[in-house]
């Protein structure tokens, strides 16, 4: 075995601990052991900053780092963003109660851990062993860094013969490589072989995951529940259990499982996001609110930062908002608006995000009972949507809902008309489209056509026939346009042709409008007017 001094010399090392005495004592310890390049960081943000700018060979981090991200999250983000290679070593300093949480990650686990309290002799021994093992696995880790998992398997098999004492470490890597290569049957066989000798928690999870990918969901669930019973802090088991429950459409059970998981490990962003998403789907808004609030907070300086967290958080608090001026309403609405301001500032170069944020602002105003503000925001959102080159069906549907909420049913109807002509609607979107269409009130649309009609009449009476006809065309485009609107449109077009010249296209339009009207009964007070217009149209048709 090489000495620790030779293994540490020339290596770039980062030590992370939130306590100042621990940081300086760790640095000193490492220097005594032979390290000559040691950086220190006190929290997740500082550590991430260091890791972004330097390639470290060794990172030693305390698991508990106070309020912000913990050591496990730093590790996950560093590996996820490939800032820390598989050939680099990550050691966690941890207490007893965090062991399963630390060592259980399927994807991103530390190379090893050291429990406090430790003396320099303990650190010397542990580091020597860890770095020696790491050196022996270097060949395999290089293949992992190259993402060449077929080669990983080859090297694992070679090393198993050469170093049988490292069997469990090698088999653990082999299992993960088989999963990456989607060789799930082989992975299952491997884990079962390991479990036949000893019930190791990571092998149990590995087996469950292999069964999951082989679509043996009930068996996978069984293994996961069993593992959770004996290792209740093995939080990745909860994640997979929830995945299965979602696939089996048991969303309430999935939510319960994820809630258990976040109780064990509350700082994992992706888990909080998933819990928020499921709770929102289950309409459990208090849980969704809490989960998305945590997601926003935890992800603020992390690689998992996402606009979705902000948007979903603001949507989740809507249940608290009402026209009553309660404290809950005030706090929730302020949080919603603040969140949307943050979206617009942080993602100002993304018009789609700004659009979604504006929609939520409109919803918030609607819930506050501030209809004028809600309508204004809806119009702003509508203008933004018009500028988006390829809006998704989801965006259009959301806009339609907002139009309906702000009593702009005619605009909603127009938008749904555009949606109907799309060829890329999913089954769910089609269902949503039909549901939304049912929400449109004929009465409200008719009122809208009446408003347009009134403006058109003003133009007509001033002799501005072209402008009047333009507005009448707009009003009559809606099937909800009433008899009066249709008669006015017919009259404007006939008057135009009488004053200018007969136009075949306009004559055809008049015929279509008369067709829509059908025959008015004599009892209708507009019967005489209708009769006169029909005769005028017949005269025009003879002139053509």
């Amino acid at each position: 075995m090489a000495t620790i001094e030779s293994m540490l010399a020339g290596k770039r090392i980062l030590a992370i601990d939130d306590l100042v005495e621990s940081r300086s004592s760790m640095k000193k310890m490492l220097q005594i052991l032979g390290a000559d390049e040691v950086d220190i960081a006190m929290d997740g943000d500082e550590a991430t900053e260091h890791i972004l700018h330097k390639d470290y060979d060794l990172v030693i981090s305390d698991y508990n780092l106070g309020k912000g991200r913990d050591g496990q999250q730093i590790l996950e983000e560093a590996r996820f963003t490939h800032r820390l290679k598989a050939t680099s070593t990550f050691i966690m300093l941890t207490g007893e109660n965090a062991m399963d949480m630390v060592m259980g990650a399927v994807e991103y686990e530390p190379d090893d851990y050291v429990t406090k309290p430790f003396t320099i002799d303990v650190m010397r021994k542990r580091l020597t062993r860890i770095l020696t093992t790491k050196a022996e696995l270097r060949n395999i880790n290089e293949a992992i860094d190259e993402q060449n998992f077929a080669e990983v398997l080859v090297r694992c098999d070679e090393l198993l013969i050469e170093k049988p004492r490292l069997a469990n470490r090698i088999l653990r890597i082999k299992g993960r490589a088989l999963m990456r290569l989607k060789q799930h049957k082989k992975a299952l066989a491997l884990y079962e072989l390991i479990l036949a000798e000893r019930e190791i928690s990571w092998a149990l999870l590995g087996k469950a995951v292999a069964l999951y990918y082989l679509q043996q969901l009930d068996k996978s669930k069984e293994v996961l529940k069993y593992t959770i019973k004996s290792h209740p802090k093995y939080v990745q088991c909860y994640d997979y259990l929830a995945k299965i429950q979602i696939q089996q459409k048991d969303l309430e059970a999935a939510q319960m499982t994820l809630q258990d998981a976040v109780r064990v490990s509350p700082k994992q962003v992706l888990r909080q996001m998933e819990l928020g998403r499921i709770a929102f789907t289950n309409k459990d808004f208090p849980v969704a609110e809490s989960a998305f609030r945590q997601s926003v907070k935890l992800a603020r300086h992390s690689c998992y930062k996402s606009v979705k967290n902000y948007l979903m958080f603001a949507k989740s608090v809507q249940y608290k908002i009402s026209p009553k001026n309660t404290r809950d309403t005030r706090t929730a609405s302020q949080e919603a608006f603040r969140s949307m301001d943050e979206v617009k500032t942080t993602y100002k170069d993304n018009p789609e995000y700004s659009f979604e944020a504006t929609l939520i602002e409109s919803t918030t105003f609607t819930n506050l009972g501030k209809d004028a503000d809600a309508k204004l925001k809806a119009e702003q959102a509508g203008a933004m949507l018009d500028k988006i080159k390829k809006p998704t069906a989801a965006m259009q549907l959301a806009m339609a809902h907002t139009y309906i909420a702000t009593k702009q049913h005619a605009k909603a109807q127009d938008l749904l008309g555009d949606l109907t002509s799309r060829e890329d609607l999913s089954a769910a979107e089609l269902r949503e489209l039909n549901r939304t269409r049912d929400e449109i009130s004929e009465t409200v649309v008719r009122e809208y056509t009446t408003e347009i009609n009134d403006r058109a009449i003003e133009f007509f009476e001033r002799g501005q026939l072209s402008q009047a006809i333009e507005l009448f065309d707009k009003a009559t485009a809606y099937k909800e346009a009433g008899i009066a609107v249709l008669l006015n449109a017919i009259q404007a077009k006939i008057t135009y042709m009488d004053q200018r010249s007969v136009d075949a296209k306009m004559a055809k339009e008049v015929n279509e409008l008369l067709g829509r009207l059908g025959n008015l009964p004599r009892s209708d007070e507009r019967y005489n007017r209708w009769q006169q217009l029909v005769k005028s149209q017949q005269r025009i048709m003879r002139a053509l």
């Binding site: 005495e21 621990s22 007893e96 003396t119 002799d121 062993r129």
Partner: protein, 221 residues
């Protein structure tokens, strides 16, 4: 109550361990700073010895919690036996013991056990030996099928008396005697594994050697 007892205990233990870590570091810094002052070496040695003892007692306390309190689970993980034993030897050395310990097994031998519990068990074996006048201790390993181990800790001390050899169970006879063996027994018993469909627990056996001295066997399933 806002927190349950176990949560409070965990929090307190966490603080104690951090404090202990700080103390051990400060101890080490102090020893370095006064290395050139012979008049301070004896008091420093005392500080270090007591620091080690305190650290050991904290680990022992944690071990007791693991044994007695289901909220504190043992952490069965892969460990290198050679490292575990070496650290026990170093800790004893820091407490002033000069007993010679020989490790007579493959230095790359690894096994699954809770390192803190097994360290306590090995530590107590060594302390027993020292108290029985041993100057030499030898650690051997017999590897059993399916990854189980028997650790044989042999010494050249006085050996066990008849009463100790005859007792079927280890019971603490009050704070002054029997506690070490009892804790050892419990620490091993908590290591349980199903092998070929049968639950096997760890155990401790004591015996005297024909050539004199004692042998404590620790079975780790």
């Amino acid at each position: 109550m806002a927190f349950d007892v176990n949560t409070l205990l965990s929090a307190e233990l966490h603080s104690i361990k951090n404090q202990m870590q700080a103390l051990l570091s400060a101890q080490s810094d102090l020893a370095d700073a006064l290395a050139d002052y012979p008049e301070f070496q004896k008091p420093i040695q005392l500080v270090q010895t007591n620091g080690q003892l305190l650290s050991h007692n904290i680990i022992e306390l944690l071990s007791v919690l693991k044994i007695q309190n289901t909220a504190f689970e043992p952490n069965i993980d892969e460990n290198w036996l050679c490292d575990t034993v070496a650290l026990v030897i170093q800790a004893l050395g820091a407490m002033g013991s000069d007993v010679k310990v020989q490790m007579d097994f493959d230095p790359d031998l690894n096994a699954y056990y809770d390192e803190q519990l097994i360290s306590i068990a090995i530590h107590n074996c060594f302390v027993n030996a020292i108290h029985a006048g041993a100057t030499e201790i030898r650690v051997e390993v017999e590897e059993q099928p399916q990854g189980s181990l028997e650790l044989l800790i042999k010494d050249n001390g006085e050996g066990f008396n008849d009463a100790q050899l005859e007792q079927g169970e280890f019971n603490p006879k009050g704070a002054a005697s029997g506690l070490g063996l009892y804790l050892m027994d419990q620490a091993l018993a908590i290591h349980a594994r199903t092998i070929n469909g049968q639950l096997q627990r760890g155990w401790v056996k004591v015996a005297n050697l024909d050539q004199g001295g004692a042998c404590i066997t620790l079975f780790i399933p």
